[in-house]
Every structure is written in structure tokens, then in C-alpha cells.
Symmetry: C2
Subunit: 471 residues, 2 copies
């Protein structure tokens, strides 16, 4: 009997690394630092958040004397915002629980120093990727020269290329400048756009700031240039700002695209269409698996905004993820019983991150055949591999990217999973790996030692083989 189920090739690329992992080692013996998953990396969750959510799930816990009173208060408030007072009910509206959206708007106003924010412009989601998917789905149209295109950075978040393929949106890559710590270059934006016109219909520019996986933090001048570029070229700004709370570079600070836009001339602030994305996988929560996030829509046509809200299906909403989002954007305040513990836990994460980044970057730069731009934010380092020409040839013969081959061998030999740069859409003949550095110090040391051991063995073996050929 023939199957009515169609396998549509190319709708969604099969990620080689996922297969690879499955084939080679059982998951329990693999250390996976390829994604920014704080919980998997062994960072303890935030007590206040988890306590509040536990009480929401099992309200009888209000009788538990070990839980602080502000935890119980918050849980009661959150439960009263749920249908039937229960996290197991379906939400009233797909765009989000009103109390949660209000807290998000307050958070944005606080963060952006008084710039206005209205809950009506905000839609909660099950994460930044899901929000972006919805927006891309809406933008997607045409084929060939009329196909929707989106400018994306190279390198970009490793989940992005698949998302674009899945929604049939054409990638229009613009290269970030590695030597300048992966900064955006305006000439390159113009080049990319010019090259794309005639090939597709570029409709938006995607920005990741702080950069994933680069750790670059954009300055106000660059952001203003990008906004003017978007305005002149009539592109929608899609600003992924998930790592906004993890800036550790000295003299660096996070500025939201919205703040910068709203502090520009009204010819920009009142016209440039922008959507910004944030989620609970950021380091001030680090609970991505609970699925929560939001997007804020600026200067969008009200009809389009309403349509996005309608498209957001209530069947994809996760109540508990929304409550986690509320806790993230509305943490304990000074004077609250949980304030001290909360700030200690956050401080510990930020210090760990900053120290790890410094240590790992120094370590990797001392390895021959590797160079690493210092990161200023985020949870990744993205070092460059200077691979022996013979290995690059080998990879070509095998029909895989050399960094993927590198990661595969590393996984086989050391049980360590890094992300190959080819997943981040890097340039031809330029090889990188991605590693999450947010982990307890000892765990990071172990990761670095395994990388060094494998990496030097690889280089030494190549040198020896080359010698023996030359002899």
C-alpha cells in the first residue's frame, strides 16, 4: 500500500550533527556544549523562579514553611491570572496572559529608560524562534525573483538557516568582520542587498545583538546606521536580543534597537517597522525548555499586528512558560525576602560567564592552529580553526565541511560535542566551532583540556604524516 504521506525534501534540512550524535555515542557519555543550554551545562536554576512555578503547579505548597512569602504571593497573583486559576487550563487569548504582557511592557520601559512600551504591542510566545517563525511565515511569498528574502548575518544563530528554509524565505547573507570582533559593516550590507536584488525580494534585515554566536555587542553609532539603512531600503528590522542581559565586556553596554530607534529623528522613530525578540533562555532565566518568550512590534500596521495575533494559535501557548517569562521580567525587588538570594544567584552566573569567557578565549588563542575573537556578551565563543590543508582536502573528498569533520572526530575521540561553524552559515574555506562557555569552572576546564588534547593530536599527526611523505 503506497503512503499518502509525502516526504518533501528540502523543507527542513536534516541536521548532520543530530544524526551524528545519535549514531556514535549514547547521550549520557557525551558532553554537549554546542548550544546555549544553561541547564544542560550544569548551571543550577534560579531558586525564586522555580519556587514560584512549583507553587503554581501545586498550590497546596503555600502551606510549606520553607518557601518565602514573596514566592507564595507571586504564585497567587500569577494563578489568579490563569483561566480557572490553574496552569493546566487553556489561555483566554493566544497573544498572552494580560498580566504577563503588562509586566513585559514595564520591564521594557525600565530597561530603555522611560521609552514607552504598550502591552498591546507585545505577544508572548513559546520562545524567540517560534515568534520569528510566525513572522517569517507571514512575510513569505513568491518564488524565484519575487521570493521574499531576508538579510542575515554570517555567522548567524545556528537555528536560523533552518527556520528560513522551513518558511521558504531566501537567505541574503551579509558578512560580519571577524578582525573587528565580528562587527557589522555598512558597505557589506549595501553589497549584500545589491547582489540580492533581482534574485529575490529582500524585505527584512535580521540582526542578532548581542551577537549569537559571536558575542559582539553593537554600539549606538552602528545601530543608527543600520536603522537608517533599513529605513532607506524599506526593510523591516528583526532584532533578536535574547542575550541582552549577558553583557560582560568592559565598557560595553546593551542598547535595545527600540531605544536607539526611539531616540532618533521622528522620520525614523515613527516609521521604521521593527520586531524585537526575547526569551527565557537568556541568562537571567536560563530555562529555555520551559518555553517562554515574547516579541514587541513597533510601527507595524495595526491590521498586520492584529493578524499576527490571530495567527498565533492558542494551541501553541504554554501557560507555565508565560509565567516563567513574568518572573524573569519582574524579579524580586530590593526589600523582598527573595531579593538577596536572587541577586547572588544572578551575580554568580554573570561572574562565571565573564571569567569563563576570558579564560577560555586566552586558552584557545594560545593553541596553535586556532584563533578566537574576544566575546563581550552571550554564552558562546566562536574560535577560528586554521586546519591543515590535507584535512580540508580529506573533508572535500568525503563531501562534508572541514569543521563538521573536525567536530565529528572530536566527538568520536573525546566524547565532546561542539557546534561546527557550517551550521552558522560561515564563508567558504573559513572554519569555526561554537562552544557554550556558561558552565561551572571545573566543567569548562575539562572541555578546554579535551579540545586541546584532540586539536594538538590532530595537528601533530598531520605534521608527522607530512614529514614522512616529504622524507
Amino acid at each position: 500500500m503506497s503512503s499518502g504521506l509525502q516526504v518533501n525534501p528540502g523543507v527542513l534540512g536534516i541536521r548532520p550533527l543530530i544524526n551524528l550524535q545519535g549514531e556514535i555515542k549514547p547521550s549520557s557519555t557525551v558532553t554537549d556544549v554546542s548550544s546555549g543550554d544553561l541547564q544542560r551545562a550544569g548551571m543550577p536554576p534560579l531558586s525564586f523562579a522555580r519556587q514560584v512555578l512549583a507553587v503554581c503547579l501545586y498550590p497546596e505548597l503555600v502551606e510549606d514553611d520553607t518557601l518565602p512569602p514573596d514566592v507564595k504571593q507571586r504564585a497567587k497573583m500569577l494563578l489568579s491570572s490563569c483561566n480557572g486559576g490553574s496552569v493546566g487550563s487553556y489561555p483566554q487569548t493566544a497573544s498572552g496572559i494580560p498580566e504577563v504582557l503588562n509586566s513585559v511592557a514595564k520591564f521594557i520601559r525600565r530597561r530603555d529608560g522611560g521609552v514607552t512600551s504598550r502591552s498591546d504591542d507585545i505577544i508572548s510566545s513559546t520562545g524567540s524562534q517560534k515568534s520569528l517563525q510566525l513572522v517569517l511565515h507571514l512575510m513569505s511569498s513568491g518564488v524565484g525573483r519575487t521570493q521574499t528574502g531576508v538579510l542575515i548575518p554570517v555567522p548567524c544563530p545556528h537555528t536560523l538557516p533552518m527556520l528560513l528554509d522551513d518558511t521558504r524565505v531566501k537567505q541574503v547573507p551579509y558578512r560580519l568582520v571577524e578582525e573587528r570582533g565580528w562587527a557589522v559593516d555598512l558597505d557589506e550590507l549595501h553589497r549584500a542587498l545589491k547582489a540580492a536584488r533581482g534574485q529575490c525580494e529582500p524585505r527584512a534585515i535580521y540582526i542578532s545583538n548581542p551577537g549569537n554566536p559571536t558575542g559582539h555587542v553593537q554600539d549606538r553609532k552602528t545601530m543608527e546606521e543600520i536603522i537608517r539603512f533599513a529605513a532607506n531600503e524599506r526593510l523591516i528590522l528583526l532584532a533578536e536580543e535574547v542575550h541582552q542581559d549577558s553583557v560582560y565586556g568592559s565598557d560595553k553596554e546593551f542598547l535595545s534597537y527600540k531605544k536607539v530607534l526611539f531616540e532618533m529623528d521622528t522620520k525614523y522613530s515613527e516609521t521604521v517597522e521593527m520586531i524585537s525578540f526575547h526569551s527565557i533562555s537568556s541568562i537571567c532565566m536560563g530555562d529555555g525548555g520551559l518555553r517562554g518568550g515574547y516579541m514587541e512590534m513597533i510601527n507595524l500596521d495595526p491590521a498586520v499586528k492584529q493578524y499576527i495575533k490571530t495567527m498565533q494559535s492558542s494551541s501553541s501557548t504554554v501557560i507555565l512558560g508565560q509565567l516563567a517569562l513574568e518572573v524573569m521580567v519582574n524579579p524580586p525587588a530590593p526589600g523582598d525576602p527573595s531579593y538577596r538570594k536572587y541577586t547572588q544567584e544572578i551575580l554568580h552566573r554573570k561572574e562565571t560567564l565573564s571569567q569563563n569567557a576570558q579564560r577560555a578565549c586566552d586558552f584557545l588563542n594560545r593553541l596553535r592552529g586556532m584563533s578566537c575573537q574576544p566575546a563581550m556578551a552571550g554564552v558562546f565563543l566562536y574560535p577560528r580553526l586554521h586546519l591543515p590543508p590535507r584535512m580540508i582536502e580529506d573533508a572535500k573528498r568525503l563531501g562534508v565541511q572541514a569543521d563538521l569533520l573536525y567536530c565529528r572526530w572530536l566527538l568520536e575521540e573525546e566524547g565532546l560535542c561542539l557546534g561546527p561553524g557550517c551550521e552558522n552559515g560561515q564563508e567558504e574555506e573559513s572554519f569555526h566551532v561554537r562552544l557554550c562557555i556558561l558552565a561551572p569552572a571545573a566543567a569548562l576546564d575539562d572541555v578546554l583540556a579535551r579540545i586541546a588534547s584532540f586539536h594538538l593530536r590532530l595537528l601533530d599527526k598531520d605534521a608527522k604524516d607530512t614529514d614522512s611523505v616529504e622524507t
Copy 2:
């Protein structure tokens, strides 16, 4: 500045009732019995499940002396199956946590009296709708005469038509027989299929058993006929079996399509392609908002099965929903400390459901202008409205379905939200409403009183107006 975001009309219908609700009354003053949401209906959640999940969220609760030991044990076991031992991490595989899939397979074997079930055939999801959406997305192809069609019952679950539109699959409606308690009629299946051929490419038949919203429970003979029909016509069987644990009709029992199929001749059991759907919104859990479910795939081409697994994006997986699913399919066993309380809570739900169904059905049948088939399962009643011809005319003039108008007026006058039959895809000139009957007895009485009060006012007013016109 023109928007690059396209509003694609018709991709997703805007549900009138959602808008309506938002416009007319703030949610807190509306009693909404239009969907099968146990939590919103005021049914208390199951203690064991919520306790286990609370400990998973905040593992320090293992120190809480008021929580039973089997709760703590289960939480530990579940946490050890999560990446990094945390519910906030991302899952290793998108198709599900292996321990959860194993528990589901065991549950199916137990339920179906020894019929085999392999975890490899099971994919966990964020609910039955999401699984179905993925499958429809894969089946969807063609336009016009080559567009994929799926046979669907009339009435069908109110979420189904939107799902089909969204995935661009054509509805091929087959009418259920109201006078026979909404049974499936084989001649009608043949008629529907014949009428559709040439108009589209029918590829699957969708079954809801126990029927949503009808409460009908299919018998083995009917199911065998449907399976033979699917086999002969080369249709995939999509079996929604979410209400499998809520059969209360006397002499009725739930048989899964898989069990019936596997007990037929091998020419069927080894060839008919089938996918069955289940979720934690069923009454043995009733926590739909936590988002968990699974689908089991039978006789599917291994390549297709693998492709479905790949398509299932890990970004849509909710760890906590998967753990809730595990607790649902693997409840406390006799001898466990939580067994007694668990069975009492389940029994209370089932008794409430059975008594409510009987009482509400009797009550509605006593109202003139209304008739209601007795339900045998599920959480809905689906009574028929015999409306005054003038109201039907009024509705036509307003361009809405008469049952939608009925529900709108009821909402305005009584603050009570029922589901209009037009959402369930009913026949022309045949009007129904959908109401969830799983609620505490007093709450149901209140709902019934408000329906009666409104309904009789409506009929009396019509009679008076008609009199005065005739006078």
C-alpha cells in the same frame, strides 16, 4: 512606509467567537463551557501529577515531609531522564524523552491487552492538535484537483476545520447519523469519497472516537468496516482517541483502532497505515495547558516515520508536558502510597462526568425547541436547536449562522459562552450548540438554568411577536 508583512487572507480563519468574547464581556464575568477545559471548568487537578511536576521544577521539595515518597521517587526518575537533570533544558531528541516514550508504549500494550507497541513508533508532542498539524503539513500537496483531501466527520472537533485550512488540506465531509447517536454510516463514507474524487485527492480519513463533540463510542463492527474501507480506498487512518478514558455509557467500552486493526486479518493489520493521537487534556489528566501528547504510527514507511521525527522541531517540545504525559500513562499502582488518593480523584471525575451527562441530557431534552442525543463518553453534549424560522431569517439577513447568533445573544444576556455548531462544521439548516459538562454539579446546574432561562425567553418572545403580527 509600506509593510513587508503580508496578510494572507484565508490561511487561518478568524474565529468569530474569540473576537466576540473579547468585545462583549471581560473574561472574568463570562462562564465559558465551549471547550473541554477541565481546569477552567473548575475541576481540581490530580494531586499526584501536580506534586510530581512541582518537585521536578523545584527539586529541593524532596525535603518536604508532606509529599508522599512515591511522588519524590517518580520526580527523581523523571529528572534523571532530562538533559542536565533539569526540566529547563532542551531535550536531546525532538521525538521525545526515551523514558517517556517507553512508558507510553507500556501503557498502550496494557490498554490493548497485549497487542504490541514499540516506543520507536511513538512521537511525543505538545498536544494532539500539534501532532495532527505536523501530519497534515506532511500530507499537504497540490492545488485544485490534485489538492490533498481528508475525510472528516460532520460534526467534527471544533479545532479541526481551522487546522485543515491552515495546512491547505481540503475538507471532505461525511455526515454522522444524529438519530443513531451520531454513528458513522458506511454508505455515507462511500458517498463522500465518490463526491470528492475529481474535486481533490482524498488521502486520509479522520476519525474521532470517542466522538468529539458527539460523545459517540464506536463498536468493533463499525471500526472493522471503516478499516476495510480505508484499506480498499488506500486511505490513511487518522484516529483521534483523546477521550478514550472517559467512556461512561452503559455496556460501552473503548476499543482502540490499533487493537481492532491488529486483531483483523494480516492483509489489514500489516498494511493499513494508521496514526493515533492522544493527549494530557483527556480526563485522566485534564491539564491541556501543560501541553503534552503523543502519536503512534502504524504500518508507516520507515522513511516517512523518520521524516516525521525529523520534522518535529525540538523547539516545539515542552519538557514538562512530556513529564505530565508520563505521569498520565503511568499512574500510581496498587500498593503505592499515592494510589488511594489517585483512584479516588479519578473516580470522582468519572462519576461527576457520568451523572452530569445524564442530568444535563434529560434537562435539555425537556426544553421545548431542543433535543439532545445521549452521550456515552467525552466531556461534551451536542444538543440540537429547533429555532423559530424568524430567527433563522434574522441570522441570514445578518450574514451569520443562526447558532452563532444564538450563542452571541446567550453570551450577551447570560454571560454564558457555548460553542456554536457552525464551528463543528455541521450541515446547512441544522443547528447545534456544544457544551462541556465536566464541572462541579452546582456549576453545571447554574449553566443549565441560564441556558433554559435564555432559551425559553427567546422562544416566548418569538411566539409573542408572531402573535402580535398575526393579530
